[in-house]
Symmetry: C2
Subunit: 137 residues, 2 copies
């Protein structure tokens, strides 16, 4: 996978280790469309993945039905060569949960994971954030 | 959403809160097909979701190309009414990472999340597990 044999890197230890960032956003000040339009949000996610140098390999977007509280939320998932991005929205409370998980496939992608999270946080512009970072693998 | 108005439940607090379970598995003793066959793994995941009483709303499965180490891994993602299930496999090291994330959509789904995680752990039969549990939202 691009490693020079002379480096004596243990491939089995490199690829599965990774970083999983989560952020739970409340009181998002973004345009409501980002919380309700799966196509718009999905397109943004795929572009953000590309812009941060990660590699999208598949995607699935879903719109939930409207409720008594208003339009339904959406889920946008982008599968990455490096693991995945998942976004869930709750428009009735201007809430969003974000997952950016990158394994160390081919390199340490931690910086790209933080950049992708930053792009999404900038989009949603929350007033309240609960974040976690988990080393995995 | 099935809530009786007389209960005075705060909808905004109920739905977004949830439980995110992760497990990183090494030395899985399952049949190799579960680590390399996206269709087989995806079908198992959808059935396990259904068996545990969660609601699948969409899915996407991806097979990675083979490498010098052997067959490529797979990603199986099932979007849930209650959030998502993501499985990534690393067949060259018999490794798997699992994410089971359930928001409290309509009810507390924590027990179902643990049951789904148990079903996947039983399938993969790892010799080593690193687990985390995160309250979200």
């Amino acid at each position: 996978m691009g490693y020079a044999a002379g480096l004596f890197l243990d491939y089995s230890l490199i690829t599965m280790h990774g970083l999983h960032l989560t952020a739970d956003l409340r009181h998002c000040r973004c345009a409501p469309v980002w919380l309700t339009d799966a196509h718009a949000l999905g397109t943004f996610c795929v572009q953000a993945v590309q812009d941060t140098g990660l590699q999208a390999v598949a995607q699935v977007f879903h719109t939930f039905p409207a409720t008594e509280q208003g339009p339904g939320g959406v889920t946008a998932t982008v599968l990455l060569a490096e693991s995945h991005l998942c976004v869930h929205t709750w428009p009735e409370q201007a809430g969003v949960t974000l997952d950016v998980y990158v394994c160390n496939f081919g390199a340490d992608h931690s910086t790209k994971a933080h950049a992708l999270m930053h792009a999404l946080m900038t989009l949603f512009a929350p007033q309240q954030v609960q974040s976690h970072s988990l080393q995995r693998g």
